[in-house]
Symmetry: C2
C-alpha cells in the first residue's frame, strides 16, 4: 500500500511489488487475478484501516466534538510530514485512474463515502452542541470539512505554510 501511495499505479511494476513484499510472481498471480484487482483489494484494505482509525480517534468522549475533529485533522496532517508520500491514497488513486477505469472510480468513491459516514455523527454532535454552524445539514458540512482537509493534504507537502494553520482557519470559521 505504501508503495502504491508513493509511486502511483502506473509507476509501480508487479516485479517491484513482489520484490518489496518478498512475494514471487507465482504467488502474486496465485493470490490476485491481476495487478488491477490487487489495487482494488489494497484500496479496500486501506479504506477499512482508515475508517477504523477515524472511528477510534473520534470516540474519545473526554473531549468536545469540535476539539475531537480538530485534533483528528491535526494528527493526520502531522502524520503526513513524516512520510514521503503526499495526499490521500484513495484520492490520489482516484485522480490517477478515476477517469480511465470504472472499477477504480467506484471503489475509491465508495471509500470516500465511508470516511464521511464515520465522521458525520461527530459533526452532527458538534452542531447540536452549538459548536459548529447548523445552517446547513450535517452531511454537507462533513463533506465540506473533509474535502477541505483533502485539499490541504494534497498541496501542503509542496508549500511552505503548515497545512494545519489552514485547517484551523477553516474549522474556526465554521464555528457557530
Amino acid at each position: 500500500m505504501e508503495l502504491f501511495w508513493t509511486k502511483g499505479y502506473h509507476n509501480l511494476g508487479v516485479d517491484e511489488i513482489c520484490r518489496k513484499t518478498g512475494m514471487t510472481k507465482g504467488a502474486f498471480y496465485n493470490s490476485f487475478k491481476s495487478k488491477e484487482q490487487f489495487l482494488l483489494t489494497t484500496i479496500e484494505n486501506y479504506g477499512n484501516f482508515i475508517a477504523e482509525y477515524l472511528q477510534n480517534q473520534l470516540s474519545d468522549n473526554k473531549q468536545k466534538p469540535f476539539d475531537r475533529l480538530l485534533a483528528l485533522y491535526k494528527k493526520m496532517l502531522e502524520a503526513q510530514t513524516e512520510t514521503n508520500h503526499m495526499g490521500c491514497f484513495v484520492n490520489n488513486t482516484m485522480s490517477e485512474l478515476g477517469t480511465l477505469n470504472v472499477s477504480v472510480a467506484s471503489t475509491t468513491s465508495e471509500q470516500f463515502d465511508k470516511f464521511l459516514n464515520v465522521i458525520e455523527p461527530t459533526v452532527r454532535e458538534a452542531q447540536l452542541n452549538q459548536e459548529l454552524i447548523d445552517s446547513i445539514d450535517s452531511k454537507l458540512l462533513t463533506k465540506t470539512i473533509h474535502t477541505t482537509f483533502f485539499g490541504i493534504l494534497t498541496t501542503s507537502k509542496s508549500t511552505k505554510t503548515s497545512g494545519y494553520s489552514i485547517m484551523e482557519t477553516i474549522m474556526h470559521s465554521l464555528k457557530k
Copy 2:
C-alpha cells in the same frame, strides 16, 4: 494538455500524443528533448494560461471583490462539469509525479504559487473592504481559499453533491 490532464503522465504514450496532435515522432523529438521536458513545457503553458484567466476574471471592477472571487470559483467549478477530466492539471501532475521527480515538483509548486499571487490582491481588497475576515494575513487566507477550491475540484466529480455548495459554505463562513 487535455490529454495529460485526463490520462495522466504514465498512461499517455508519446505515440498517442503524436497521433492526437497530428505530429510525428520525428517532429516531436525535434521540438522536445524528452517526454518529461514536454510535460514541463505543458505545465508552464497551462500555468500561464490559467494565471491570465484568473487575472481577467478578477479585474472586473463592477463587482465587489468578494463577489468576484465567488463568481470565479463558481465559473471554474461549472467549467469542470462539462469536461471528462477531474481536478486541476497542475495538482494532478503534482500528486502523480511530485514525489518521484524534482523538476516536476518544483515546476508544479511554482505554478501553484503563481495562482496564489494572482488571487491574493483581490483577497486583500476584500479584507480591506470588510468583506472577509482580516484576523489572518491575506497570503494565508488566499491559500486557505484556493486550497479548499482544489480539494473540491478533485473530489466533486465523483460525489453527487454540487461542489459549488461546498465552496459557497466556505466562502460565506470566511466572511467578516
